[in-house]
Subunit: 383 residues, 2 copies
Amino acid sequence: MGESAILHHRVALIKSPFSDKKRNEEIVMSIFWSQRVRNSQPYVAGEQPRDKKYIKLNTNENPYPPSAKALAAIRQATDGDLKLYPDPEGTVLKEALAAYYRLEPGNIFIGNGSDEVLAFSFMAFFNPGDKVFFPDITYSFYVVYANIFGVDCQQVPLDDEYTVDLEKMKGLPGGIILANPNAPTGRGLTVSGIKEVLRANPQRIVIVDEAYVDFGGETAAALVVDHDNLLVVQTFSKSRSLAGLRVGFALGHPALVQALDRIKNSINSYTLDRLALAGSVAALADEEYFRECCRKVVSTRERVAAQLQDLGFVVLPSRTNFLFIAHPSIAGQMLFQALKERGILVRHFARPRIENFLRVTIGSDEDMVAFMRQLEIVVTDMA
Amino acid sequence: MGESAILHHRVALIKSPFSDKKRNEEIVMSIFWSQRVRNSQPYVAGEQPRDKKYIKLNTNENPYPPSAKALAAIRQATDGDLKLYPDPEGTVLKEALAAYYRLEPGNIFIGNGSDEVLAFSFMAFFNPGDKVFFPDITYSFYVVYANIFGVDCQQVPLDDEYTVDLEKMKGLPGGIILANPNAPTGRGLTVSGIKEVLRANPQRIVIVDEAYVDFGGETAAALVVDHDNLLVVQTFSKSRSLAGLRVGFALGHPALVQALDRIKNSINSYTLDRLALAGSVAALADEEYFRECCRKVVSTRERVAAQLQDLGFVVLPSRTNFLFIAHPSIAGQMLFQALKERGILVRHFARPRIENFLRVTIGSDEDMVAFMRQLEIVVTDMA
């Protein structure tokens, strides 16, 4: 639309504001939206139903509550000091994470969930037009970041077993992102595999997204000391049962952490509030409870995986808190819908190669009994 | 540095990692930092001292604690449900804000403090190379956003009284940001002045940053209904005593809010945690306490302003929770330093035109008595 055409519309608008709501919105968009907004294809988070009680196996939340010590620390921090800004550096949390991973505080970046950490990584390490390589089937937020920051996605196909072919990840002309274990497949890479990728791309940033690593994956955290092209990203949302608190972090060479800090301090000095800082420090200290929750999730996962196979499902081997499953003769969308009608929410991705899969979060033993019961009925009805 | 020189460095590095820490960091930066990081000039937040008890009048925090009802709501939300993601839409908070400002939920965007809302606004409404106009003396984060997003800052000089000349804000070839009341000057514009700017720039976004408006400014919130080029940005950090909780919001035409939502949902689906959502809704509902705190701050401000004038200071008229003051014969930096040595933290900006000013947050009556006592000693010593 030319300048004069826009002006013409505006005059009409000023005369009768909101007389034609639909048209008005389109015009306002055409005048004010940046190219970045136009190019964006925002991530659609899994449903958070407010109206009905579902058994919620759709967003990979932990079925067990956060550490009681974390809740106590939050309650203790809920006082008049909330009038004060948080520590913009999150010093106490950085020191705790450094001690936990045997690194220095200068190796630690903290953010409002690992999604924010990943977004800042795109801003810190990629210029518009740069290439970034990741599997064709992986966390769907990577494409979203690439779109908004003008980075050129190069999707590397997983093999027929939905496994990352490491040979395809070597000597690449761009940055690399590997979710390990991968989502939504659940498959894990070994640390020695990650090391191969790091060594084969010394001039390229390699971001290893370890959101699910605590459920049986191998963490690359210790590689940070010797590999300055490695950024390991983790979160408190899954294994520490704190999705509602918004805490994520990255481990890397101090120069990479400085880049992330420069981005953060150009957007928002205080991304973690006082309660998130207090709660995450206490959660990290409660190692025993953390291990117990992870152990229970893994044990439930293995039991349910076997039951699903007995029911005829293809079940990819999982090192996460979810299972990626497909029925040989019933479409994923139909299973998803039938389960939803029966009060069970799982995640279905209408994307090539995986449209017949469902991603099922591991809930409590009780949740999973209910899930299996409903699934058996659905499969019997449909098969 | 050429590709081969970098490679040469890298070979040396791989042989003896961290043998020369300084050199190593520079090389890592040179390989991995994006242009955006190189261009960045991060915001430096006011000091949050951890080691010593200062009287803290440097970051415009409220001297009064948050509403007891907000604290109670946070404690109540501190339960096992923290394992679940927050509502990504923040529906309850949006509905509460819409009711409060007599707008629709579609007019409301919420974010992790108003700084994040402003950063997302730069992403949503400006393309790289676009011009953005704001006063030469204003919130120093605007320049930071412009640097990181490649937007061309056009700084419009305040007049000799540190007032915005509205005539200079008309018919501009770019977006406009006005802090109202302005920081760090404390001066306010009228709503009719804002309306003039909106009407004189119908094709341009006008962002009115009302972080301090509740302490005596005039809000443009009601103008949102009739002006689709207006975005009003506010925060819970100052007048609602919740700097530690990270809640900010914007009011605007639904098409502007949609643009902000697209940016947010391309970066982080859940920028506000469950506790911030619960606490801010409760704080907003406690209107009586809010008004009482604002009234007390304003009353203290007026008393201290008079005392400062009696002591010989230039005191700009303030509609905020701070005073912007200068002594006719003592340099701002010296006053800042002398007060700090006496346990009083204020803010000094080493910037042209205002290097002799101090920005002094209005603390409790007790804090301000201590401040005035120390200031009198310092001035007597130095004058």
